[in-house]
């Protein structure tokens, strides 16, 4: 099992009354609440933490959101470039570039190729649809989100793998001459990762053999999503997917005692605060099926955000405790889902840099070595998630915490 360090780089200094007045920290909050000097200090601090995580043996993940105080990453490729030039060892997972929200897939192909070329192939390339609210900063049509995602993907892969000059007159993208320089260092292209839970997206990811990432799902929901992937991949004639094809993102904090871990780790739930976005923003028209839209209207989505601390720990969404406790949680995650990559969100809200550094150091000393062997011999193991032991019908997963 590989462990990735991740922080969304939040800006935690927005006054609560401003957050209340603007229905949360995302998409619609004016930037008068941002202080440039404090922002600079935050960037240096978060980048220092990436540097430490790399030295301690973690892989690294960056992402992007827009018009948001909960994330100061504004471009996953810019963040990746910055993290790459500060680190030497870890892989940098770009998870991800929200394809429908970027005007130019060719530019995405160039940027990823650049990152891969200049780092001798340290990039894992994640593509995402972009969470619902991202529709408003980019102003891209939510009705076409999924279509734009797949067309942009097709064009990018073509740009990496077709070594002749070509033209593209698609439904959403139009180029008369495409020939991307540089080519990626990893040939034919960097590993592609996708995050999501909708049936259509999981099946698409499985059919392409890409790595599927589940964000903040419960153990059973994550297992269901991965089972759908495995069965789709097998039906598409692919070999049985191993743990490397699966990733999971959890919130994490370890300390030498349970009490201390909880005292600090409770701050991680800052990230799960119930949003107050209008339904029209949390669920833009046409972004998802009308059935999913009604589920959102009825308050059936984002259930995870309402869980208690204890429930979040029980469900594996919060990996919080002593190194032994968290190691046991990761073992359980592997046993129940067969995941091979775990992204640890080691910071949220006002957690201090020392708290993050202490946790990273302890994780590196006691948890990393304990979980590293998980999944290495997966084909010799008799686990419940192996395809030939899986006889239950596949169910669709509804809840995403992240809208």
């Amino acid at each position: 099992m590989k462990l990735f360090h991740f922080t969304e780089m939040p800006y935690p200094y927005v006054p609560p009354e401003a957050e209340e007045a603007h229905r949360g920290l995302k998409y619609f909050i004016p930037n008068r609440f941002y202080d440039p000097v404090r922002g600079y200090e935050l960037y240096q601090r978060y980048l220092d933490e990436y540097e430490l995580a790399d030295e301690l043996g973690f892989d690294l993940m960056v992402n992007e959101h827009h018009q948001s105080a909960s994330t100061l990453h504004v471009s996953a490729t810019l963040s990746a470039a910055t993290v790459l030039s500060r680190t030497r060892n870890g892989r940098v997972l770009v998870l991800g570039t929200p394809l429908p929200h970027r005007e130019s897939p060719v530019r995405v192909a160039e940027e990823i190729a650049f990152l891969d070329a200049m780092s001798a192939g340290r990039i894992n390339c994640g593509f995402v649809r972009g969470v619902q609210g991202e529709t408003f900063p980019s102003n891209q049509n939510p009705v076409h989100n999924m279509e734009m995602f797949t067309e942009a993907h097709d064009l990018i892969v073509e740009a990496w793998t077709n070594h002749d000059l070509f033209s593209w007159e698609g439904r959403h993208y139009h180029y008369r001459y495409v020939a991307v320089w540089p080519r990626p260092y990893q040939q034919p292209h960097p590993p592609i990762w996708v995050s999501g839970t909708t049936r259509q997206l999981v099946e698409w990811t499985a059919a392409h053999g890409y790595t599927l990432c589940n964000l903040l799902g419960t153990y059973p929901d994550t297992a269901k999503s991965f089972r759908l992937y495995r069965q789709t991949a097998i039906a598409a004639g692919q070999p049985e997917p191993g743990p490397d094809k699966f990733a999971y993102l959890a919130l994490c904090h370890v300390a030498s005692s349970e009490e201390e871990a909880r005292r600090v780790g409770e701050q991680l739930t800052w990230y799960l605060k119930q949003g107050r976005l209008r339904l029209g923003a949390a669920n833009p028209p046409g972004y998802s099926s009308t059935a999913a839209a009604v589920a959102a209207l009825r308050g059936k989505l984002g259930e995870v955000r309402r869980y208690s601390f204890e429930r979040l720990v029980e469900e594996g969404i919060l990996l919080v405790g002593t190194p032994d406790t968290v190691t046991a949680q990761l073992r359980r995650l592997y046993d129940e889902t067969g995941v091979g990559n775990v992204i640890l969100m080691n910071q949220a809200g006002e957690m201090t840099s020392n708290q993050v550094r202490d946790s990273l150091s302890l994780l590196a000393r006691e948890v990393l070595p304990a979980v590293a062997p998980l999944g290495r011999q997966w084909q010799d193991e008799d686990t419940r998630w192996r395809v030939d032991r899986d006889t239950q019908p596949v169910e669709t997963v509804l809840a995403s915490a992240l809208s």
């Binding site: 891209q140 049509n141 028209p285 009308t290 839209a293 009604v294």
Partner: protein, 256 residues
Amino acid sequence: MTDPDRARLLFLHDADVLPGPVGALAGLADSVDLEVPRHPGFGEHDELAQDWDSIADVAQYYLHELELRGGPAPHLAGAGLGGWIALEMAVRDQARFASLTLVAPYGVKLFGRMDREFADILLLDPAEVVALGWANPAACHGLRMPGLPKGLDDGEYERAFEDRATIARLAWKPFLHDPRLRRWLHVLDLPTLVIAGSHDRLVKPEHSRELAGLLRGARYVEFPGSGHYPYLETPDEFAEAVLSFVSGRQTIGATQ
């Protein structure tokens, strides 16, 4: 039986409005041959409309339908989104119509690039749309949105979400207008009535008044007791104004 002497009125509905002859339209149907079609993609999934990406597509569709059917030239009317469709139809083939009635139409951006001329009906909560769209929000009726009215079954709300998706497909960017439409307004030379409600904050009356000024020979009339839906909120005045206009009496409104 169609009476050949009766005026024919094609009324194109707005976003969020219930199907059929709602409000004043029911009364109008006594005096004119009224048709209130449901736009393709509204109320149910429509395979044809899946490929459309502009209000001009809807206009082209209706023009083709009228051409297939033939018959005397109808009076063309539309409210809000339907007013926008009507304008797109008129600039393409005005000879097909006897007159044009527009009720607070979307579709033409008139003011500066930082002026929000049209309320964000795809983002706002239903209660906000009602508050902006009615002189007396407590009197709201005849509308259907996701979650409004309360207590409907999932199927009804799914249809309302489908409507929203169709509007987004047609009018997301540029939002609720098409710059190409404004370029061709000067070709219009039809008897035209532009109606606005004084309390409309979805499309402010100043916008409708300014638009009427760009349409040759257009009359502008404003109802002080109405918001965005005068045919629902002040139906008697609305019916009288439209009947006067289509019968050629034109006793109301000031020529711009």
